[in-house]
């Protein structure tokens, strides 16, 4: 979802940002008049007598600049959809500098209250015009306000708005001014019912939150994370109080006319919210967010994007009906009409929203998200048709990308003939022979790639490269036409292709600067964070919190690192980040532990702020898995605890799965079969019941089931499960999984003393691994092969030892604890079995690996194999005649055997 979200949702979200370029339509509000007043103070009209220098209240250039920066920020920030009340403005003003603030605030309020008649307003704006008039002797002095600067444009807009205002409008402004000035003392308590409603919605959210374990997070608020050392009292008054409905600002609608920010600011605000939703949906409470959006909608009924946000919100909270509803509503209102989206800077940007085919695209994505592959495909096919009808090439490219995303994500067996319709694939390929789903997927991907390239859609291009890499990782690219004598078929995956695609994909980072994406850069978030810091600082300063010593210096110009907006838009970062995640996965397949760690670490450190919650958790999962494999369970569980704190397990399915995986592994190793079985059952329950959906989860569940049965020595059942799993994987073309299933089958036969039967499976697995470049798995298969040969009798020991030596470099270099221990044991076994080998001649060839194995296995708490190792050790010592050590090894052997056969306190296995 998330990789694609960068294309679908994310691109939609960045849309309005492109419409920037200053306030186009400006509505005069009291807040703006106050700002004008401040600008007037900042840059008073040049008077003939005045020499160059600072205007009256300012003492230094820095002092003067600080106010300028503040004013600039105020006109750009987009923290909320409502303009701040006077009280808030004064507070911020005080925070900007405490030297002249009393004078400034007093001046501001008195000036505002003086505006009581229409004529006052006329005079006021007349006075303002003087600010803009270029002084005669305009030289080097910095007091002169450039009419083309941000503030100058703002001022001009205000003056223009006032001049084009009717008398009624002037009267309104006056009325609003009165309520604006009196807002501080007019603290009218809301009607009981209203309070009750909002309380209810808050309560409901809290309920959900508590259930989801995000209660704490909610209390801290979203802003809390970005401000260290901010006291909680400061937070409630922070202007950013997104979901704080007790905050009187948010519900001032009853009190009088509320003033919206300018359209540009509103859109930027919505973008911000969309980003938050995409990044971390659990931090946004469903109901109060909807309440905010509804309120915004009543205030600005023409702003249809709000409905899109509501759709996103419902989607993130898995509310099918509501999301469907909002999606349709949004497109009913906005699609086809030129309201919001035509003002975008580049024509290629408005493909994502504003047309009916994009409605279908979104609908398809929605169904895809909720796991309705058929419906999703219907929607996509229709989208393809409509966009072809409307000659909407870019949308078509996106749709093709979406279809391939669907096909790759949702397992579709070849028997399902869904995209047999001519619309999706055209007729020029295929030559009459039906294509397999994989081939269709490849064709779609390549087409989408080509279109994206032609149409210059960098994010889609990057996404397609990613998908291609994913495809190359797991599938052999068969040629579409394979007949004739010269048709050479290379039945191997090509890591170079994967690498190439991954590199091409992250080129989006370099491309974006010269491309359309860069236009969506400035969306006011910089100003917003500046303001946020300001208020945070001022609050902690006022309350003289002991923690924030750093802030006491009143050093607002220093930004926190994390508060600084990244110059690269979030969707681009996300895409670039996902290449690293995919790299980690690729190395996981190819079997290089350090590379996995490195890439996951790069992702977790460099792309964390743009990454969505689930992607980030995936990176953590990879790291913790590595930990478990190389450092044992205690270390892994320590890390897991940390990760769970960061991502509550109820909200992050990745973490939840990881927890179950680790518990299952450990239970198997410890021999706690009941627990293992229980976890297996849980696995089965987690996946969706719809055919083809959650196919990976289902595979994993039955793989684990087979392994549990194997551990319980129910060989025939285990073999049955593995066989059916194999056929499922075959049906859904999951070749990579097949390799491990085959290996498991070989294991089963090995354990059931049926080495002859096991051999073909091991060999098949090995060749699968070779074809897909799964090096580590191949080493493991080779090891199993060696074991199988050994089981056939001592005469094969030489062959076995050569196999072990063959795989040893890979295993020692990249293998985990278990694999290494196994290799050591097999090595020792080979030597012991070898009739030509005498223990007494070279005792350390046997003893060293065994000692190493016992150490590793001790960390893993793997009783069964540890017992085996100790047994071999005891035998070796026996041969050598070192009785004390033999006894010692025998005791250890016994300990492990009893632990395995009579597992104590099995329930412990569920805790960590």
């Amino acid at each position: 979802m998330n990789v694609f979200a960068g294309v679908g949702g994310g691109a939609a979200a960045t849309e309005a940002g492109t419409a920037g370029g200053g306030p186009v339509l400006l509505e005069l509000t009291p807040h703006k008049i106050a700002l004008c007043q401040l600008v007037h103070v900042f840059a008073p009209p040049a008077q003939a007598g005045d020499g160059p220098g600072l205007p009256f209240p300012f003492e230094s250039v820095a002092h003067h600049n600080r106010l300028g920066l503040f004013l600039f920020t105020l006109t750009r920030s987009c923290e909320d959809f409502l303009e701040p009340p006077l009280e808030e403005l004064l507070r911020q003003l005080k925070a900007v500098d405490d030297l002249a603030n009393d004078w400034l605030c007093g001046q501001l309020t008195s000036n505002l209250t003086e505006l009581t008649s229409p004529d006052d307003l006329f005079n006021f704006f007349d006075k303002l015009r003087g600010v803009l008039a270029a002084p005669e002797g305009a030289g080097e002095d910095d007091v002169y306000l450039d009419p083309n600067s941000q503030l100058g444009v703002f001022l001009r807009c205000c003056i223009l708005a006032f001049n084009s205002m009717s008398f009624e409008g002037v009267c309104h402004i006056l009325a609003n001014l009165v309520s604006y000035c009196n807002a501080a003392d007019a603290s009218y308590d809301l009607a009981e019912d209203e309070d009750y409603d909002t309380e209810m919605s808050n309560l409901m959210d809290v309920d959900i939150g508590a259930r989801a374990g995000i209660f704490d997070k909610y209390n801290q608020g979203y802003a809390a994370e970005s401000h260290i050392g901010e006291s909680s009292s400061a937070l409630t008054h922070a202007p950013m109080s997104l979901h704080d409905f007790d905050d009187a600002n948010a519900l001032k609608t009853d009190d009088g006319p509320t003033c919206l920010r300018s359209r540009w600011q509103l859109e930027a605000y919505l973008n911000q919210q969309a980003d938050v939703l995409e990044k971390d949906p659990s931090s946004v409470p469903l109901n109060s967010f909807n309440a905010t959006m509804t309120q915004l909608q009543t205030l600005a009924p023409e702003l249809h994007r709000v409905q899109f946000l509501q759709y996103l919100n419902a989607l993130c909270h898995d509310d099918y009906v509501a999301s469907l509803d909002n999606l349709h509503r949004y497109f009913d209102y906005s699609a086809g009409m030129q309201g919001l989206f035509t003002r975008s800077a580049s024509p290629s940007q408005d493909i994502v929203v504003g047309k009916y085919e994009s409605a279908l695209l979104c609908l398809g994505n929605l169904h895809c998200y909720f796991g309705h592959p058929k419906k999703a495909l219907e929607a996509f096919v229709e989208a393809v048709r409509v966009s072809q009808m409307n000659n909407d090439d870019s949308c078509l490219a996106y749709i093709l990308g979406a279809i391939s995303n669907l096909l790759s994500k949702i397992g579709m067996s070849n028997t399902v003939e869904i995209i047999g319709s001519p619309y999706s694939l055209g007729t020029n390929i295929g030559l009459g022979t039906p294509l397999s789903i994989q081939q269709q997927l490849l064709v779609l991907l390549k087409r989408s790639l080509k279109r994206a390239d032609i149409l210059k859609l960098p994010s889609l291009l990057s996404f397609d490269h990613l998908s291609l890499a994913k495809f190359d990782l797991k599938h052999v690219q068969r040629p579409l036409v394979s007949f004739g004598p010269n048709a050479s078929t290379k039945l191997k995956t090509c890591p170079a292709d994967v690498c190439k695609n991954l590199r091409l994909s992250s080129r989006v980072l370099t491309d974006f600067g010269t491309d359309v994406l860069s236009t969506s850069n400035d969306n006011g978030s910089f100003s917003t964070s500046w303001l946020r810091n300001l208020s945070a600082a001022s609050n902690s300063w006022c309350s003289s919190s002991t923690k924030s010593r750093k802030l006491q210096k009143n050093d607002f110009d220093n930004f926190y690192y994390h508060a600084q907006p990244s110059p690269i838009p979030a969707p681009v970062l996300q895409l670039a980040g996902s290449t690293y995640l995919l790299r980690a996965t690729a190395w996981e397949h190819y079997g290089s532990a350090p590379m996995v760690r490195m890439n996951a670490l790069v992702y977790a450190t460099s792309f964390a702020d743009a990454a969505s919650q689930s992607d980030l958790s995936l990176a953590y999962v990879k790291l913790i898995q590595q930990q478990a494999v190389f450092k044992g369970y205690s270390a892994a569980f320590c890390a897991l605890k940390l990760a769970e704190k960061k991502f509550p397990s109820s909200t992050s399915s990745h973490i939840q799965l990881l927890r179950m995986q680790l518990l299952h592994e450990r239970a198997l190793h410890r021999g706690h079969l009941k627990v293992a079985q229980q976890i297996c059952d849980e696995f089965g329950v987690l996946s969706s019941s719809v055919c083809g959906v959650d196919i990976e989860l289902k595979t994993e569940a039955s793989l684990r089931c087979a392994r549990t049965l194997l551990a319980a020595k129910q060989f025939s059942q285990a073999a049955a499960v593995a066989n059916s799993l194999y056929s499922t994987c075959y049906k859904y073309n999951m070749q990579v999984e097949n390799a491990s299933v085959l290996l498991l089958l070989a294991e089963i036969h090995k354990k059931s003393d049926n080495a002859v039967l096991g051999l073909p499976y091991a060999l098949a697995s090995q060749s699968f691994c070779k074809a897909f470049n799964l090096d580590l798995l191949e080493a493991s298969a080779t090891l199993t092969l060696a074991e199988l040969w050994l089981a056939l009798g001592p005469s094969h020991a030489r062959r076995a030892v050569s196999l072990v030596y063959q795989s040893l470099p890979m295993i020692l270099g990249h293998g985990g604890l278990e694999l290494r221990a196994r290799a050591h044991i097999v090595l020792a076994k080979c030597h012991l079995f070898d009739p030509n080998f005498l223990v007494s001649k070279d005792p350390y060839a046997v003893l060293d690996p065994l000692t190493q194995a016992t150490e590793d296995l001790h960390v893993l708490e793997y009783h069964e194999m540890a017992a085996e190792a100790y047994y071999l050790k005891a035998m070796a010592y026996n041969h050598l005649g070192r009785l004390d050590e033999r006894e010692e090894a025998a005791t250890s052997f016994k300990e492990h055997i009893t632990a395995l056969e009579k597992p104590l306190n099995e329930e412990d296995s569920l805790s960590y």
Binding site: G169, D193, D254, P257, A300, P301, E382
Partner: protein
Amino acid sequence: MASAKETYRAELRSAARQLGERCLYSAAKWAAELLVGVEPDAAPAPSAAMDSPSSSSAASGGRLLHLHRSGGSSFRHRPRPGAGSSSEVGTPLGGVSYVSTPIPDDDAFDTGGDKYLLAKTYFDCREYRRAAHVLQNQGGRKAVFLRCYALYMAGEKRKEEEMIELEGSLGKSNAINQELVALERELSTYKRTGSIDSFGLYLYGIVLRDKGCEGLARTILVESVNSYPWNWSAWSELQSLCTSSDILNNLNLKNHWMKDFFLANAYLELKMHEESLKRYERLMGVFRCSGYIQAQIATVQYNMRDLDEAEMIFEELLRTDPFRVDSMDIYSNLLYAKESMTALSFLAHRVFLTDKYRAESCCIMANYYSLKGQHEKSVLYFRRALKLNRKYLSAWTLMGHEYVELKNTPAAIDAYRRAVDINPRDYRAWYGLGQIYEMMGMPFYALYYFQKSSYLQPNDARLWIAMAQCYESDPLQMIEEAIKCYERAANSNDTEGIALHQLAKLHGMLGQSDEAAFYYKKDLERMEVEERQGQNFVEALLFLAKHYKSIGRFEEAEHYCTRLLDYTGPEKETAKSILQGLKRARSGFPSMDIDQFTRCGRRFLMNKACGQCSPDRRRKEKNSSEGCAPLETSVSMSPVGYFPSFLHSVMLSVCILAIRLHIAGADDLVRMMLASSCWSVATKRTRRLHGAKMSVTGMIQIPNSNSGATMHIAFLQGSESPTV
């Protein structure tokens, strides 16, 4: 009985006076109308204020008799409540089951009566703030109420003005009544201290509703109507707050006879038409001459698509009350559905002269222009209606229809969507949305809307048929789902018989010939009952003949073949050959191949000769004669001879031209010819939705080469041109 009526009269009389004194004009009007509507006694009481001329009462009596004759059984076996109506538990009218509410005595002449008088005159002159100012510092509930009410009205007036003044860049419509806060504070204090009367409660209720506290508003309004049930405004506010039947059923209402009016109206709004009709008919027993009840009954009947009945009532209503504008928009909708142009123009003229700046009047004029085919003007008037009343639901929907006619898709979608957002239960707007998306070639997207509409109106065959057609459409081809929908439609009284025919066809396509035969037979029976004949009839006969032949039931097959012989056209020949085959089969003649060969050959010759049959058709017949399912792409069309004579000449020539072109293989030309009228399918379906009856007499399907969609040319009864 008479005394009960007298009580009603007394109650209503004082209510009208009291309401009028408090400037609650519309409620007073309602009460007064109802007062006059009470059935006159045999010997009218001397005190009765009713000065009803004998002519009008006689007229209404006559009409009612008329209603008795034709108007459905419910009128007939309604028990006449005699003197002993108290024994009837079920019929509350006039029974003791009502809670009698004492008429509160007026504090008309409390202190400051003169000031009150002044304030009321100010109020009457719409100088609200002045009225409120006069009543400042005046005690007495009446004075307090009028002051608050005047303030509220002043706020409303200002709000309306502001709404026009403030057209912000984002269409900001947050103009609110500035007095609400103060009023709410004051009224809640009165409520707490208990010094509030039922009128004050009513005002408190609407203030709360305007503030958005609907739950509380409902409780307050219930309290108000329980203490003073004659205030119809309070009832209707309460009704507008009851958006679902659950809310309605949970209201704690005292059992007053006004509650029946309320419930009937609420049921009407919630589309529970039967319940509503029942209640209104019961109320008719007492309020015989009430125009309000008649209009409501007519509305219910219109909603139940009982057009003739409703029209009669409306006509009568208009005769007795010629300057009535209320609910005349429904009448105009009805006339529109019946396509009675003259009556509609007459109505439009009349309301125009009466009061042209009312939403209803504008709607009527818009309907008139729409029927005339002048859709731009129609939209203009709908816009005006909506300007007068933004929440005028049906205008939004109807405007959507007009935009469809104007081919302005986005505007149509917008209009429909607004209707849906005002009332999410408006199935017509949902249907309209679905229809537009379907026309835009997005059947999958349209499904959502059709699903919505059929969810709201599950017993409406038309909606199910629309959904089925979506499923059936070329891009989707989800035949199983389509069959399910058609089954639903067939089970819910599909008057036009589309469902049965389609069911038969689809089953035939899937090769389920038993099911197909079953539905063809049913369809045949239906057509026989309705004495309708046409292409479908022939098709059914042909299929059945072949089917029975193939399963070896020769007698039935022969029966259908002989019936086919009554028709001209290629089917007759087919029937003949089938008959011959039957004879041969009976006599044990084995050679089917030769039979088929000769048949095909003959038909080929015949087609060449008459030139009426397309190659597609031949293919289809061949297929089906070989026992295969008929192809979807086949063309079914009625030869000219079948057209009923009422098709006037212009249409006939268009049809002939289309058919000729089609046969000549120039489908592109047909498409071009009919391209301009391709939207009128919407018109037809929309009209059908509003109750007009039409039937398909023939149909051509042309596969569209570009999009793969099939174009349907249907010849409809009562349409001016063939529709595609």
